[in-house]
């Protein structure tokens, strides 16, 4: 349906347009969205635990975690509220390297990301491995601010950004695909921006 009187701000197609998923617009800033107050997690209180169901596999403190191999990912990110930001530059530990340090192969096909504030979000395990995701510790070379999920946040840039859980404190392997916080509140179970999987009813 064409909206009366609404004219396009569209310019001739550019290379940039091909990087913007359907229904998204390009944002230069870095908006902040979250469901509750921003937790202030001190690095001396920080820990990260890998779990299989309720059973802890391995826990790292901040110093131990920072001793893991640091990788760089510069990626476009896509928020379900319709903004896309190009070339966000992160450094952190690839999920692959966390698994290697724990000496395990992924035990199940599904993972739940866990946060200090009780937030959870589900991601298929294969979307976290093979270099696709990291636990980010730095943004643009500096510690991630609390608003953006610091000290550490998950980065799964090929899915809508609510999957990149802020204030991360663990990854839990689950037998079934268990919906997380927003997935239980109307948002899509998988969240592929290129298929515009925003809400539960999207195919």
């Amino acid at each position: 349906m064409i909206t009366r009187g609404f004219s396009s701000g569209r310019k001739p197609p550019t290379d940039a347009d091909a990087r913007i998923p359907p229904g998204q617009y390009l944002e230069q800033g870095f908006p902040v969205l979250s469901a509750g107050p921003t937790p202030r997690v001190r690095t001396e209180d920080w820990s990260f635990t890998l779990k299989h169901g309720p059973r802890p596999i391995k826990t790292w403190n901040w110093t131990e975690f920072n001793a893991l191999p640091l990788a760089k990912m510069t990626r476009d990110i896509h928020c379900v509220t319709a903004w896309t930001k190009f070339d966000t530059a992160w450094q952190g530990v690839l999920v692959d390297d966390i698994l290697a340090d724990a000496g395990i192969e992924p035990p199940t096909a599904f993972t739940l990301a866990l946060s200090f504030d009780g937030y959870t979000t589900n991601v298929p395990t294969q979307d976290l491995t093979a270099g696709k995701a990291m636990v980010a510790l730095l943004y643009e070379g500096k510690p991630i601010t609390p608003d953006h999920g610091g000290p550490a946040r998950l980065l799964v840039p090929h899915l809508y950004f609510w999957k990149s859980a802020k204030w991360l404190n663990g990854l839990q392997f689950t037998e079934r695909d268990e919906p997380g916080f927003w997935e239980l509140r109307g948002y899509h179970i998988y969240g592929d921006p290129w298929r515009e999987q925003r809400y539960t009813s999207d195919p």
């Binding site: 609404f6 701000g9 229904g23 509750g36 107050p37 928020c79 109307g186």
Partner: protein, 248 residues
């Protein structure tokens, strides 16, 4: 070709039935849905505009009306000068125009009188919109849940829904309005003329007979960060605080 019937589009056409200016920068648009639209207080919708060349812009807006308001959905939209959807509404949209709408959306920043209270609401600028839906829902249900709203605006004339909020407050039936004007003197005895702070949150909680069961905070990111921290410093457990941020 699939032989399954096409799934119903999640988008529906809505017609603008009334336009009412609320403040110099905020205008309410009353929308008539084309199919049944049930929602909860605090939820939002996505609005989509389509240009003749197929370009589409979509933005999320909170619903200001109560679920009990009948079929009409009220959106109170602030004009953002560098926006592409809000200037359309403010400068072009007229009664009778159609736009596309999806929703209702959001299952966290919501409240029903059956959820109980007391309720502490904190809004900054147009962040009052989803809180207004909760306040109107409370009034429509003749709920006895005690609600305090701390509403920060720059000046008296930018207090969205001001007359309605003061009328509701003056009923003295358990809804309490406190205004915090940041660039003008307070006009009502209990109002403030400063930015929101911990002391203000502590005093606002004293207006409730018991600690709040929920606190809802909505506004710009800077406002929500400051208000949520002030609530925590005033003793409200973080787990009771629900926030909605415009993102900027």
């Amino acid at each position: 070709m699939s032989d399954r019937p096409a799934a119903q589009s999640p988008w529906q056409t809505v017609t603008i039935s009334r336009i009412e200016k609320r403040t110099p920068r905020v205008t309410s648009f009353f929308l008539e849905p084309s199919r049944p639209f049930a929602y909860r207080a605090g939820q939002h919708v996505d609005v989509r505009l389509t240009a003749p060349d197929g370009y589409q812009a979509r933005r999320s807006y909170s619903i200001a009306s109560a679920p009990e308001a009948g079929e009409t959905i009220e959106l109170a939209i602030e004009r953002l000068d560098d926006g592409e959807v809000s200037p359309f509404f403010h400068d072009i949209a007229a009664v009778g125009d159609e736009v596309e709408l999806r929703g209702p959306l959001g299952g966290h920043f919501v409240w029903s009188d059956s959820d109980g209270g007391p309720l502490l609401l904190v809004g900054g600028g147009s962040g009052v919109v989803p809180l207004m839906a909760m306040i109107r829902h409370r009034a429509a249900r003749k709920s006895t849940v005690l609600v305090a709203l701390v509403f920060s605006a720059r000046v008296w004339d930018e207090v969205i829904f001001r007359d309605e909020l003061i009328d509701l407050h003056d009923r003295r039936d358990g809804f309490d309005l406190v205004l915090a004007l940041t660039r003008e003197s307070a006009r009502r005895p209990a109002d403030y003329s400063r930015r929101l702070d911990v002391a203000m949150m502590e005093q606002s909680m004293l207006r409730l007979p018991a600690p709040p069961r929920f606190a809802f905070v909505c506004g710009s990111n800077a406002f929500v960060s400051a208000a949520a921290q002030a609530l925590i410093d005033a003793g409200v457990p973080a787990s009771l605080i629900r926030t909605e941020r415009y993102g900027v």
